[in-house]
């Protein structure tokens, strides 16, 4: 049990007073971010990332920095459920499915029960995913040590194709969003030849678009513009959680163990292949409705209908970190931002990280266990406080969020140009959401575009331009084939349905 030993060491790293304090700060910040419209896991972490530059320079500081950032992520995952249940406004896209049964429960005056169920099942989902990460990630990392450029390109290809195959948006919209992301990633200096691409003579574009700015604009400003359409006021049920409600709900929850397990499995799978938390929550809500004995009563306020999407969303959100730390390929936009953070701190995510920085990796994994416990404590005790944030009038909170976004964009590179880019990306994000194009493939393409390109070109140099290098060996051939199957999955499933119909 080498992993357990390493994990125990990780706990020793994570359990310093400073790191525990950071965990609670991170979770509280994360819940606030999750509750506020316009701020979410991805852009919340992006805004706070520049603040950790200084922290990461001190010895052992990179572990503290990642603990802070990942706890913001856990907090944001928890926070999304609060607004869904109390206000019928999903604070995060992955908590949309939670509104279906959570809000009816709150209207019946059982908000406490719904919230407790949501938080507890989030915790369970995350916990199962962390256990999986603990035992699976060293294996994946060992496996990935053998990877050369063709294998890495196959992993990237798999990531991109998985988006097309598993997205709940139409595949062509996913592809269109992804291609726009690749175009944006191509701007700047060519990494192999050093020539300038698509800069149109502007010095601001020499270094390309920073994806952190894109994330802040797309998710932050875009979200605020969209919220505005709904009007300026929030109306919500009041939140009261006391110990009795919590204990009563906990007594009830073991009844839904099968739903929990199913949802965790869906979530873990969707998190590792970068489907992300949002499709995972919808999928597991659908699965639970089909298999549950009272599935036809879903939507009227069933606790099971809260358990299913929350478990899956957290399992997916957590397991999205597995490919990030083992392969350097993030499974969700927020994981992509964390990955960006690692690279800025001078850490190279990927299989070597386990060998070179075991303190960091196992400290992070241990903090996942502790962070989720911290999160559960914080949300169960402070719900009324967080709900009060939403009662701050929109005309005050909206400009403050905009200012925070602007500061976040500026601090990425200390460039005012990025503040303008944020506004442009905000308009783009608004249009994407209005036209129901998915944002996640765009972000992942901006983040991974350069890496995918350079591994493709290295492979091409190795094989002297022969594409068969991507099917030449067993492993790389397997991944390429799997990627192509996923890419054409919408067509395949359509054809299968046709055949079965006849």
């Amino acid at each position: 049990m080498e992993e357990l030993q390493a994990l125990a060491h990780g706990f020793a790293v994570a359990l310093s007073a400073k790191n525990i304090a950071l965990m609670f700060i991170g979770v509280i910040l994360g819940v606030i971010i999750g509750v506020l419209p316009g701020l979410g896991g991805a852009n919340g972490v992006a805004i706070l990332l520049p603040l950790t530059f200084g922290m990461a320079q001190t010895p052992g500081g990179d572990t503290s920095a990642i603990i802070l950032l990942s706890c913001i992520y856990w907090g944001a995952l928890f926070g999304g459920a609060i607004t869904s249940i109390l206000f019928n406004i999903p604070g995060e896209p992955w908590s949309v499915a939670t509104t279906f049964d959570g809000y009816p429960l709150a209207q019946k005056g059982e908000a406490g029960r719904a919230l407790t169920a949501a938080f507890t099942s989030s915790f369970v989902g995350a916990f199962i995913a962390v256990v999986m990460i603990t035992f699976l990630s060293p294996l994946v990392a060992n496996f990935a040590l053998e990877f050369g450029p063709p294998e890495f390109f196959a992993v990237y290809l798999l990531t991109f194709c998985a988006f097309v195959g598993t997205s709940k948006e139409p595949p062509f919209k996913t592809i269109a969003a992804m291609m726009l992301g690749f175009a944006l990633a191509a701007v700047g200096t060519d990494t192999v030849t050093g020539t300038l691409r698509l800069t149109f003579g502007s010095t601001h574009l020499l270094t390309g678009f920073d994806f952190l700015v894109a994330v802040i604009g797309l998710f932050g400003i875009g979200e605020i513009l969209l919220t505005l359409e709904e009007g300026l006021a929030f109306r919500g049920a009041s939140a009261k959680i006391n110990l009795r409600v919590v204990l009563d709900t906990w007594k009830e929850l073991p009844r839904y163990w099968l739903t929990s397990i199913r949802s965790s499995a869906v979530g873990c799978f969707m998190g590792i292949v970068p489907g992300g938390a949002t499709p995972a929550s919808f999928m597991s809500y659908g699965v639970a409705r089909r298999f549950s004995p009272d599935g036809d009563k879903f939507g009227t306020g069933k606790v099971e209908g809260v358990v299913a999407p929350e478990t899956a969303a957290h399992a997916a959100g957590t397991s999205a970190l597995l490919p990030m730390i083992t392969l350097g390929v993030p499974g969700s936009p927020t994981a992509a931002v964390l990955l960006g953070g690692l690279m800025i701190w001078g850490l190279q995510p990927g299989p070597l990280l386990f060998k070179e920085k075991p303190d960091f990796v196992w400290g992070l994994i241990a903090s996942m266990y502790l962070g989720n416990i911290a999160g559960l404590i914080v949300v169960l005790t402070c719900v009324p406080l967080f709900a009060a944030i939403l009662r701050v009038p929109f005309s005050v909170i909206a400009p403050v969020i905009m200012v925070i976004c602007a500061i976040g964009s500026f601090t990425v590179k200390n460039a005012i140009f990025d503040v303008w880019m944020m506004v442009v990306f905000g308009i783009l994000g608004y249009l994407f959401k209005k036209l129901q194009y998915p944002l996640a493939p765009l972000v992942l393409a901006i983040v991974l575009g350069d890496n995918a390109e350079s591994s493709f070109r290295q492979s091409m140099l190795m094989s002297q331009g022969d594409m068969s290098i991507f099917v030449s060996k067993k492993l790389v051939g397997f991944m390429t084939t799997l990627a192509l199957i996923l890419l054409f999955w919408p067509l395949i499933s359509w054809a299968l349905a046709k055949l079965r119909g006849k």
Binding site: N88, Y103, K434
Partner: protein
């Protein structure tokens, strides 16, 4: 509710005039704000931006507008410049006040 969220109904209006107006009331000031940051720094423009929103959309009395916008910016100044030591763009007003 579910029918609204899950399937993409094809004949939906892209945006209503009233909604577009609301969106523009935020978008135009934000664009102006981004340009103002270039000339007068992020602090003064943030005060103006938050103040504008509170006065124009929220119809708050002036003393509340001034109090909230200035207090917010002071908090940002302390957190970013003092606590995390991240310098933010400043303009002529800060140089008159000798804040750096």
């Amino acid at each position: 509710m579910r029918a609204l969220l899950v399937p993409a109904d094809r004949n939906k209006t892209f945006v209503q005039v009233g909604q577009l107006k609301l969106v523009l009331t935020v978008l135009v000031p934000t664009a102006i704000y981004a340009f103002l940051v270039t000339w007068i720094g992020i602090y003064v423009s943030s005060v103006l931006f938050i103040g504008f929103f509170m006065r124009w959309l929220g119809k708050y009395p002036w003393w509340k507008v001034v109090l909230v916008s200035v207090a917010t910016v002071v908090v940002f100044y302390v957190v970013f410049e003092k606590w995390f030591q991240v310098p933010l763009p400043k303009g002529p007003v800060e140089s008159i006040l000798r804040i750096n």
